[in-house]
Symmetry: C2
């Protein structure tokens, strides 16, 4: 098989890629592309993977309502239950609305796709920005809330919570870099454990309450200080309502994740959504009710869940610890939900050319490694900046979710309108779904339209009441992200134009090869580079940057002795700069190029045998490469000299 | 001036280096090498620059003694004054001993040079490791102690102290990147302000004490919690003594900094040292005495200086605030002392080939920029890790200083012994100094030997009493650093051997040029690279890594259309790896090389017009460069393609 005789040759590599032992142990052995289809999950695992975000918000939603209400005194805490009922009603509306989406988009109906198909590119980018920022916050909030549970049980850990939270994010990252099937398995048991423990707590609590022997909270923790006492105003109630709507975060996860389900995807995903909403609504209401019944208080030192559990189970026994453990774990799983969705959505946006194309790359375990790593890094940074404090993070959270809810449902409403305009026999093939006439289109449009309206109102309430607590940051961030997406998009589109061969005329043949060899000394490395330069061309010039007179003299003498008359240009550098004078010189030479001329700069480069030895050298070869590549008509050759 | 006609050509650049406006504003305009000698300082500025470290330790040394003593109850605090007297006696011994060093080493007698000349390479590396780690800690401790003063006056800032401390380190870094003369001027006024304010406080305090109207401390801050109450044991007293010896840190700064003084250097430096020690000793004793007189207590919330100042001046008025301000500033200047010494010492070690040679490089303002930046980064990291808590940092601090004191004085003692062995007319020329007979050699040897013995005892006391508080970390770190220094040294020595032209035989002429062009697509960029490859050789092969079948087919078709029969090798990559299959292929080809053969890999490279566009591409060209440079007989050419 001589490559010069035919123009296409296929060369089959024998082995799977070399990976370090550490890499294999942490991430698992590489999976071939052919394995991709097998990574799909059933309803039970699906509930565990995609519902943990929504379910886990019961761990902090009640508490965050109380945090706001307590500003009007402990008596105001009794408003928490009616507020919760409103939120559960909102949950019901959103669930019904999303059912329609899941069935209309069997191949994945996240807000990004639905708004792209029905509202256009701009709306989809807004949805993308909202969702991506909210996925990041899901990780930060959930892991921080998990640590708050741990600290409730083990107060001694309070000063280490930031470190532990970052470690947890890194652990979840590793699990996800191994692939979703394994993480589904890892996470199924704890999710059901959480459901069992919380159901037990709620049932025992309600039974004791009805039978009249549920005691009040003993030894309450210090109440969080929210400044001066306010009156109960509509603003305060809406503010508390906004905080409580965090209970709904994660409801959209299933609609984004439909492609991960086994067939029939829509049916499985839809049933999982209903189950999730029913469980979420009942848990949230029960917890809020019990918090009122025992007189739980919002505190930085103990969560409401912890207060309820130790009251219901009369102390910090094995049942109490199981509830805290289960709640902590479900919160960590919630973070994991974002690890399923963020990489998927960012890959989708990247394939639409709105995000860097690296995000579409599936790593050795068939997952979107870049997305997973990006998510982990930003989430960990936010945890550090906000010191793992849930109450500080909450004002940033949920606004993106509700914005994407609104866009998604508005998109669906518009879709039903389009369907209504069809004749009974018409059909339109769209990117992600088929539009065919549906006699119930009016009714369905009303459902989605009402959903959109409700969630839009929540966005406005949220932005108003939480503006100065931090929501302004999100209101700045989302437009910034959208402009960034468009900047990226323009770059890729222009690049494709620029590289296109459509009116390509082959350029003239290269005429003249001049070579320049920058040297810092005369030794085996530079002589090797010089030898290579002479094999390219007879027109070779060496260049030396002079900083020290004595050294320059020595170099010039040695040059004459070893190089048989190759000219050496010495450039004085009174300011001890090495790169600028050299780049300037080459720039001036390149300006003299005639069309078709090219200057080849041959750079001698040390290659030390140990990686850390690189820190002992100046890396001028690398810097020069980056500096020279902007000069047209100049090509850089690195001639490595392997030492030792 | 045609470069091909003569072998040496000097090319004179016209302009000073281009620097961004931000760079010029922050760092100042570049200084030419010829300006180097002007940056020398007089005694008054010298006292300000080199004494601030030592003087500022009065701000925390008393307090750290109290922190240890309070573990035996507040009654034990009365031991602080006798302990201080012992420490001042130690200061006197060290000062007398160092006087001899300064006069023996007019061109700089730091522990590194003295031990290198008199005890050999290994001792000097131990001294270097001790000093470098202590300089870093000087920055961390001093800035943290400065913030403790600020927090005493403004308790609301307590939660921001880490951020402010890091900002202060960055500010001092910038000032030092501008050059030592400017920093000397900037720092002279505050040092004298500190001396004035502290002298005033001490004098007023002592006068009020003698006249019997100095009140006790009103409203004392909460005492730091040091666990269960202990008895007053010898161990506890030695422990407190160790903490107090931090007062001596910085005494060696002048001996390291002699070259920065104006001529006569030794005389000026010696006088400055005596002045510094007298001031330091009196201030330290007075502060400790006053702390006992008013009943000051060690606290995390208010420093002892603050307690004394508000008692002496009867409240938090303008005088109190001036004392706190002056103390804060002198502590920040103390950090600045390390910025004078760390870069100087690390450059010295680097020129001895024990540290990366970049550290010898003088930046645009003639200062050792790499050393300054390295110091700042590590010190800031330590501040973050220890949350700017002085009491946590103290156990790590001072052990390195006393180790270097011991080595330096032992070296001097050995030097006097050598001098004693000379005849009255003999003279020995050494690297940094001249050895000539001195009739008083016995007496001088006893002085330095006694100094070495005393400081060695302090090292042992320190290591024993503070071992479990954190001194163990330093006892591990110093040997690690010394081994690192030797590993670096071995690399540079071997590299010089390897590159030496001593028995160099010019290799055979390059015979055969094969070129390989890796491509990811067929577009203008790849065709440009192909054109360059064809200008080098007739033996050109393109390589494509196949991940997706449809894409591969498309590429193959386009290749055939545009390249007139250049062979294209397609390598299947079932694990979606791009680099490994390519590197493996080139490795196999290179193994077929005969002596004198070389393979040139021509890599097409996008060069986007905006730096941030780089994040939107895979940077395969850069990765390939790093991967291929380890294969002998392979040279990499990057052919840039400038887009837009």
């Amino acid at each position: 098989m001589d490559p010069s005789t035919k123009s296409k040759v296929t060369y089959q590599p024998a082995t799977s890629p070399k990976k370090s032992r550490l890499h294999s142990w942490l991430i698992g052995r590489p999976l071939p592309t052919a394995d991709a289809e097998q990574q799909a999950i059933g309803k039970r695992i699906g509930l565990a993977v995609f519902s943990s975000d929504a379910l886990s918000s019961t761990a902090y939603a009640t508490q965050e309502i109380l945090v706001i209400l307590v500003a009007a005194g402990t008596a105001a805490l009794s408003f928490a239950f009616p507020i919760s009922i409103t939120i559960v009603a909102l949950l019901a509306i959103v669930t019904i609305s999303y059912q329609q989406t899941i069935h209309a988009y069997p191949s994945g109906g996240g807000a990004y796709i639905v708004s792209r198909d029905n509202l256009g590119q701009f709306a989809s980018q807004v949805a993308g920005a909202s969702l991506l920022s909210d996925y990041i916050l899901t990780v930060s909030v959930s892991v921080s809330a998990g640590l708050a549970q741990v600290v409730s049980a083990f107060p001694a850990l309070i000063n280490y919570r930031v470190y532990i939270a970052v470690a947890v994010v890194m652990l979840i990252m590793l699990i996800n870099l191994r692939g979703v099937k394994e993480s589904g398995f890892v996470f199924a048991i704890p999710t059901y454990f959480f459901l069992a423990m919380l159901t037990l707590t709620v049932v025992v609590g309600l039974v004791r309450n009805i039978s009249g022997n549920l005691p009040g909270l003993i030894d309450p923790p210090p109440i969080i200080d929210m400044g001066t006492t306010q009156a109960v105003t509509l603003f305060l109630l809406l503010h508390a309502f906004s905080s409580g709507t965090t209970a709904l975060t994660g409801v959209e996860a299933i609609s984004n994740g439909i492609p991960a389900f086994k067939e029939p995807r829509s049916r499985n995903a839809g049933q999982t959504l209903v189950w999730m909403s029913v469980i979420l609504g009942s848990l949230f209401l029960s917890i809020t009710f019990l918090s009122g019944a025992i007189g739980a208080v919002p505190s930085e030192f103990e969560t409401v869940i912890s207060q309820i559990a130790r009251t219901v189970f009369s102390g910090r026994g094995i049942l109490y610890l199981s509830v805290i453990g289960a709640t902590t774990l479900i919160l960590f799983m919630a973070a994991n939900t974002a690890f399923a969705d963020f990489p998927r959505l960012s890959a989708l946006q990247a394939s639409d050319k709105f995000l860097p194309r690296q995000l579409t790359y599936r790593g050795s375990r068939l997952v979107y490694s870049w997305g997973i790593v990006t998510l982990s890094m930003i989430a960990a940074l936010i945890i550090i900046l906000f010191q793992a404090n849930v109450t500080s993070l909450i004002p940033l959270y949920a606004i993106g979710v509700f914005l994407s809810f609104t866009l998604s449902q508005a998109g669906m409403a518009h879709r039903w309108l389009k369907i209504g305009m069809l004749g009974p026999e018409d059909e339109i093939q769209e990117q992600g779904s088929v539009l065919s006439y549906d006699p119930n289109w009016r009714w369905k449009m009303i459902i989605n339209g009402f959903g959109a309206m409700c969630t839009a109102v929540v966005v406005i309430i949220f932005a108003t009441t939480k503006f100065q607590d931090g929501a302004w940051l999100v209101l700045i961030l989302i437009p910034l992200l959208v402009s960034m997406f468009y900047a990226i998009h323009r770059h890729y589109i222009r690049l494709a134009d620029d590289l296109s061969l459509t009116d390509f005329v082959p350029p003239p043949v290269l005429k003249h090869q001049r070579t320049i060899v920058p040297i810092s000394d005369v030794h085996k490395g530079t002589l090797t580079a010089l030898r290579y330069a002479r094999s390219l061309s007879d027109d070779v010039t060496a260049v030396f940057i002079a900083i020290d007179d004595a050294q320059t003299k020595r170099i010039q003498d040695r040059w004459e002795k070893w190089t048989e008359g190759v000219p050496l240009i010495v450039i004085d550098s009174p300011f001890r700069e090495l790169m600028h004078p050299l780049v300037d010189y080459i720039d001036i030479q390149a300006a003299k190029n005639e069309p078709g001329d090219i200057i080849t700069v041959v750079v001698p480069e040390f290659v030390p045998s140990h990686w850390w030895h690189n820190f002992l050298h100046n890396q001028h070869a690398t810097w020069l490469h980056f500096a020279l590549r902007h000069i047209p008509g100049v090509v850089v050759v690195n001639v490595p000299y392997q030492v030792e």
